[in-house]
Amino acid sequence: MSYGFLTAMIIAGTPLLFATLGELITEKAGNLNLGVEGMMLIGAVAGFGAGMATSSPFMAILGAGVAGAMAAFVYGFLTISLRANQVVSGLSLTIFGTGLSSYLGTNYIGQRMPAEIISAFEPLRIPILSKIPVIGQALFSQDIYVYFGLFCAVLTGVYLYKTRFGLNLRAVGENPSSADAAGLNVTLYKYIHILIGGAFAGIGGAYLSVVDVPTWQDNITAGRGWIAIALVIFARWNPFKAIFGAVLFGGLSIIGFRLQHLNISQSLLNMLPYLVTIIVLTASSAKKSKLNAPPKGLSVPYFREER
């Protein structure tokens, strides 16, 4: 083991964290977007393409975010403006994203990120702190993308719970008619946060293609988008809890690789993250409380004239 398991867990949890945050923000606006997997894939291929074209780490992340937001716009337009079924629209976005990323990625298969980008995402050793035994390396010697993820999680938490816009957003998700009556622009709130959600999903996908792997593979996300949707429920719509959820599931996704020497079939170990997702999801849906409930208006379409 070149580096500790905790370090690897956090790395593997980073794409999950971004995607979970994105879906969390979307759901806070009252929309269930099942297109996370598709938006992650679109972000992954866009980030990879932008990285290849510009050799700029910043452009790679930006490209992924913009592409993810554009994909989310399709979902937003269908569900908000055209009032389409949220489940079907989200599923279609996943199918579309899978096809589009595979199409755009055809020429990238097997290619590697330019050296400038790989070196930009080398672990950043924070002096002194990174020397702390056990947790020092895991927490203070990560690449900048990982820190960016943690920063986004904290930022989302502050935004949701400490700002007026966050309060308004929660009102839109809980009870859109009251929010509308209070003078909030429900449609605009929904659009903006669905786009932000898509951008996060795209950036999460790009962590895989730009930093973690960093060569292009078809279907590089391998179901992480779906795990992220489950993580939102697991984290009880709380961005701080999402950090722990993402790291935990990041750990599960690499455990097969880590336990190779134990002579247990790799395929059986690969089932773990999916199996645990089902178990955790079942446990968290069985345990219902008012404090940790989903937004009341989640996946209920809001039509002003049908108030």
Partner: protein
């Protein structure tokens, strides 16, 4: 400009709106093909030729339609109840797995009996796989979309495990594959296409009958419209959900059995070939109508077959067909708005009408 709810719409108008949606999707796709530097008309024509241009290609297209129709039929049942089963891919694989167990272990049975047992096994496999999320849904209100999808990955890994481990063919000289089926376990062909097509015709007739004229079909429709109404009218909602989802998964499992037996002639992870996902599109596009599933699935099979043809002819990747398919889906979903509402341009004339 504003929108008003339509008072009513004839089925003909609504069908016309959907046809326009499909055409719009094809026009948008044509624009992208043009951007790629190809002539869209040439590409579409050669796609059609690739799918229907010769007897051999038509047979191929039908062979692709078979699992698509069967799987769409399974998904249709679940979607009618608004149970978002996106686990058809896994149900196909487990159905194939159960059928393969029979095929590999009882290959000495007479062919008709063996194939029948394989089909039963396929139904049981797919049904059991779908039963798990259904029970979790009714007992704990667990989100079925995520569970069914997670189970796709578990099924995939399980078959990989068997392929590399206990079921590895000892005669394959170390190559990790499961043994080919004996001749008895391979479905015969009629008119050049495996007998699955006859099963498809029977299934379409049967499902149309069940959905339209039986108590069970009616119960499924009521549960889909409103669980409260269903409960109030004395329907055991949980029971209806679990049983219908077992049938839904079981039908997908039969699709897996047919793929394993007739197409791949062994069990491997590629046999589901994404049919489980494409069938979500075809089931929805057909408006969850068992008869319409057939033409929609044939169209999508043609796009898949034609898509692989243009790959060689124009070097356009196969995934282009997937993109066109999902664009059609986007447009049709979006078009449903125009079935319920119409846009009115705010000029005086209309305002007067409203006032009157």
């Amino acid at each position: 400009m504003r929108m008003i709810k339509r008072a009513g719409i004839t089925p003909k108008q609504s069908a016309l709106i959907k046809v326009y949606a499909v055409l719009s999707a094809l026009i948008v796709s044509a624009f992208f093909i043009f951007l790629l530097g190809h002539n869209p008309v040439d590409v579409y024509v050669s796609m059609a030729k690739g799918a229907f241009g010769s007897a051999y290609r038509i047979k191929d297209t039908i062979t692709i339609s078979i699992p698509l129709i069967v799987t769409s039929m399974g998904i249709m049942i679940a979607f009618k109840m608004k149970f978002w089963n996106i686990g058809a891919e896994g149900q196909i694989l487990t159905g194939a797995l159960f059928a393969s167990y029979v095929a590999l272990n009882f290959s000495t049975l007479p062919k008709p009996l063996l194939l029948f047992l394989m089909m039963v096994a396929g139904f049981v496999g797919g049904g059991l796989w779908a039963m798990i999320p259904a029970i979790l849904k009714v007992k704990f209100d667990t989100n079925e979309t995520i569970v069914t999808l997670m189970m796709n990955y578990i099924a995939l890994q399980w078959i990989t495990y068997l392929q590399y481990g206990p079921w590895k063919d000892p005669d394959s000289m170390g190559f990790p594959k499961i043994a080919n089926f004996a001749d008895n376990a391979i479905m015969p062909k009629i008119f050049g296409v495996h007998v699955g097509w006859i099963f498809v015709l029977l299934l379409v007739a049967f499902m149309t009958f069940v959905m339209k004229s039986t108590k069970q079909g009616y119960q499924i429709a009521v549960v889909g419209e409103s669980k409260d109404t269903a409960r109030y009218s004395g329907i055991n909602v949980s029971k209806v959900i679990v049983i219908s989802i077992i049938v839904s998964g079981g039908i997908c499992g039969i699709a897996g059995m047919m793929q394993a037996s007739a197409v791949n002639q062994t069990l491997n992870t590629q046999l589901s070939a994404g049919y489980g996902y494409t069938a979500i599109i075809t089931a929805w596009l057909s408006g969850l109508n068992p008869i319409l599933i057939v033409p929609v699935s044939v169209l999508f099979a043609a796009m898949t077959k034609g898509g692989s043809f243009i790959q060689t002819a124009f070097q356009i990747p196969q995934s282009a067909a997937e993109i066109i398919q999902s664009l059609i889906l986007f447009f049709v979903i979006g078009s449903e708005f125009f079935i319920q509402y119409k846009l009115v341009f705010n000029n005086r004339k209309h305002n007067k009408e409203d006032a009157a």
